[in-house]
């Protein structure tokens, strides 16, 4: 079990955004979180690498274990945690610097200074994100000048550059065109051999296409969690069925 969420509750001030969440994320699988807007799926994702720490009013009870270690425990170094769990955001957010510097930012932050080492990491990360061929001649160009789809794959490459074990993606294709979306879906399917992937998505087709397990969220609770094939073909809960057949949401 790569990540284990146990009896977790999350509050923003007095509003409870997640209610008694239990969830297991298995290594080298793609786990998808689906559900209508405001159901808590992104909130849970951001709790996994403690990006919710940035929200002052956020309070959490319960446990999240990462390789058996409590990520909210006293011994957890949050910077190391985030290095081990890469994150890709809904809107591509490359830094306003060159393609090369974007990828090299993470390794540099973690103390890698040698040019040759950085060169190697940049090339490897871009290759792993299947974007090397498109960008290899534009490494010195501003990352803001490439297309939105390329920017998002660049962000995936940037996350890969710090050698994470898990990749968290928060609706990574919702701002992209269908072709870019397909490319990213293919990429994720490829990456799951080496990484554990958790993806939040609005797009049920996407969850069905690429994920091994799916969790359906509603009003802060996980209504149903199981193998994607089963959840989509034989949903156990009436609410899941209504959602995946498009009756609400």
């Amino acid at each position: 079990m790569k990540i284990k969420v146990e009896d977790m509750n999350l509050y923003y001030d007095t509003f409870q955004a997640l209610i008694n969440v239990n969830l297991d994320v298995v290594e080298n699988e793609i786990t998808a979180f689906i559900g209508p807007s405001g159901c808590g799926k992104s909130t849970l994702l951001k709790s996994l690498n403690r990006m919710n720490d940035l929200v002052e009013s956020c309070r959490i009870t319960g446990k999240i274990l990462f390789d058996g270690e409590d990520i909210y425990g006293k011994k957890m170094n949050v910077n190391v945690l985030r290095k081990r769990m890469g994150m890709v955001f809904q809107k591509p957010n490359p830094f306003p610097m060159s393609v090369y510097d974007n990828i090299a930012y993470g390794p540099r932050t973690h103390g890698i200074k040698k040019k040759r080492e950085l060169d190697r990491i940049v090339e490897e990360s871009l290759k792993n994100a299947a974007i090397w061929d498109e960008l290899k001649d534009r490494l010195k160009k501003s990352a803001l000048a490439i297309s939105g789809g390329q920017q998002q794959r660049l962000c995936i490459a940037r996350a890969l550059a710090v050698k994470p074990e898990v990749i968290l993606l928060d609706e990574p294709t919702s701002a992209l065109d269908p072709i870019s979306t397909t490319k990213i879906e293919d990429l994720l399917t490829e990456l799951k051999d080496r990484y554990t992937i958790v993806i939040v998505t609005h797009n049920m087709g996407q969850a069905a296409r690429i994920s091994d397990k799916t969790a359906f969220f509603l009003h802060g609770e996980i209504v149903e969690f199981g193998k994607t094939i089963e959840l989509f073909s034989r949903p156990k809960d009436k609410k899941t069925e209504d959602y995946i057949t498009g009756r609400f949401g």
Partner: protein, 310 residues
Amino acid sequence: MTDAKEEKKDKTDNGEKEIRIAAIKERGAEYFFLLCSLMSIGAVLLICFFIFRGAWPTIKSVGLWHFLTFDKWKPTDVPPLFGIFNMIAGSVYVTLGACVIGVPVGIFSAVYMAKYCPYRIYPVMTQFVSLLAGIPSIIYGFFGMMLIVPFIAEYMSGNGNSVLAASVVLGIMILPTVIKVSEVSIRAVPKAYFEGALALGATKEQAIFFVGIPAAKSGILAGIILGIGRAIGETMAVVMVAGNSNILPKSVFKSVRTLTANIVLEMGYASDAHYDAIVATGAVLFLFILLLNMVLNFINRDANAAGGLS
């Protein structure tokens, strides 16, 4: 029946009249505002004209290059010697000194205010920064005379009236400009950049200094240039702490005279060629300011081209 018609016609007439009057009023207001904004343009052009016309006799008789690079200023000798090299160097020294002191402090203050400051303390901080901007320069001068000059004389070297004293005073004076402009531009950096950096395992400081500040650099640079503009043009505070001797200072503890000091110290008794040379000194200062403005425009345009971050 006819009455009713008449009345109706009257009404529409009145309505049209009202609209016409409103249009005239609107046009009038527009011209009035135009006139007001033309005043500042007119003022700049007038200042340009008079200062450069005033400088012309000196430039013609002494020669521009000689005036700028000759290091003897003896306006009352016969024949008088007019060279402002020492003063140009003096202005450059104290301005650079002000930057060395004011820029790092200013940028770090801006980082604190934009990224660390608890929101309860923030209004107090901004209040004090605004106050700092509003303190008259003569008060800064007193502050320098009473605290900084004696401190340098006591614990360092010389009599205290020095490049260092002027740099410290100017460094403090440019703080509000550097802080405000930098803070605004650091705040303007999209949150997504910081989040992206943090999500890679960067610490808050790393996110700020290796993503935030580079993204805000053109705005910060603009703040620094505005600060330089303020420092190089500052007169009163500098005169009070710089010593003002007309020699090229050999160390930061030595007395220095700036362009502005040269003008204010001699304006009172200068006449004829001396007077013209003083005006020409002012013209040189003015050129520096115009140059700085050009650099600033260039930076702003660059920032706009790079995606509106300034």
